[in-house]
């Protein structure tokens, strides 16, 4: 549930917590003030209202303080995000291809599988694309999500820190079986993983996939070329 699976997931959670705490405080402030005023100044107690048209100092205060608060929120979100997008170096690369209503996971050595196996403690880059409509590669436990857009490539970079089995979901509406694109994301011990990858040696899940991917690549257009450089 709120399980920590990587450094990234815990920073996202603390950003979440930070925003939540400020929000709850704000909400409390407003609510308490509201209830207090309603009781204290109810018509039967305070039949003559005091006319007040405003107060510049107060209004400036409640412009400036929230501004500072939200800027700090922005900073938190931005910092984590730049980690997620840090592509300078990564250890393993995967090619994730979505289609109605399935995922294909392709490893660097050409193997294609239905379940995504990765090694723990390595920095992994996922290149995400789609063959038909929009999908979204979502691993709740890692707090990551990136749309699979036909005709172009998205990516995310994560470093899992705990072995285990996690869910991959599709988070962009894609039709009838959108709800049924759950797949497993399995983080293995490093030696176990590498042994496994070796043993697969470029095996395809089904031969069909390669041909489809080839044709998708061959009508590459200027747009995706531009994007890559």
């Amino acid at each position: 549930m709120f399980e920590q699976t990587s450094r990234y997931s815990s920073t996202v959670d603390s950003a979440m917590l930070y925003i939540t705490v400020i929000s709850v405080l704000m909400l409390l402030l407003i609510t308490v003030a509201m209830i207090y005023f309603v009781i204290k100044y109810r018509a039967s107690k305070n039949p003559i209202p005091t006319q007040y048209h405003g107060n510049v100092a107060i209004e400036v205060t409640w412009i400036i303080i929230p501004t500072l608060l939200v800027m700090s929120m922005f900073y938190y979100g931005y910092k984590d995000f730049s980690d997620l997008r840090n592509t300078e170096k990564f250890d393993e690369e995967y090619f994730v291809t979505a289609k109605m209503w399935n995922w294909d996971f392709k490893y660097e050595n050409g193997t294609v599988t239905d379940t995504l196996f990765v090694p723990v403690g390595k920095t992994l880059k996922f290149n995400i694309t789609s063959l038909d409509v929009l999908h979204s590669f979502y691993i709740p436990a890692f707090r990551i999500k990136e749309d699979a857009v036909p005709g172009s490539n998205g990516f995310v970079v994560i470093t899992p820190e705990k072995t285990g089995e996690y869910d991959i979901a599709c988070a962009e509406y894609c039709g009838l079986n959108h709800w049924n694109m759950y797949k497993k994301f399995i983080v293995m011990e490093q030696d176990e993983y590498y042994a496994w990858v070796e043993s697969q040696g470029g095996k395809d899940k089904e031969e069909v996939n390669t041909t489809e991917e080839k044709s998708a690549e061959s009508d590459s257009n200027e747009m995706s070329e531009n994007k890559e450089n």
Binding site: M223, K227, N229
Partner: protein, 105 residues
């Protein structure tokens, strides 16, 4: 901002517009069209786009100011045009943040 009661029913441009001035403007517009077509055949590299847009904008300003009378209208009427320009600028700028970084990495 001005309330309605400050305007009269027949609006602000009292002067009767003349034929001559409009014909002049038309001549200028035609000349600018000729210019832009000529310039198009010269290779200006990256500037082609800007030159073409500049000339088009000048033509547009002439049409708006003179043919569409905005020059003689009051500030409220002009502010619509201003808002329109602002909205366009904002959309294009915001949108460019995506385009330029995505397509021309």
């Amino acid at each position: 901002m001005s309330g309605h009661n400050e305007h009269t029913s027949v609006d602000t441009h009292e002067h009767l517009p003349s034929y001559g001035k409009n014909v002049m403007i038309w001549l200028v517009l035609v000349a600018l069209t000729a210019l832009t077509v000529t310039v198009a055949s010269v290779d200006l590299g990256n500037y082609t786009f800007f030159v073409a847009m500049l000339i088009a904008s000048i033509k547009a300003m002439l049409v708006i100011n003179i043919f569409m009378h905005i020059k003689y209208d009051d500030i409220l009427m002009k502010s619509i045009l201003l808002a329109c320009g602002l909205v366009f600028t904002v959309i294009f700028i915001m949108y460019s943040f995506d385009l330029f970084n995505r397509y021309t990495g």
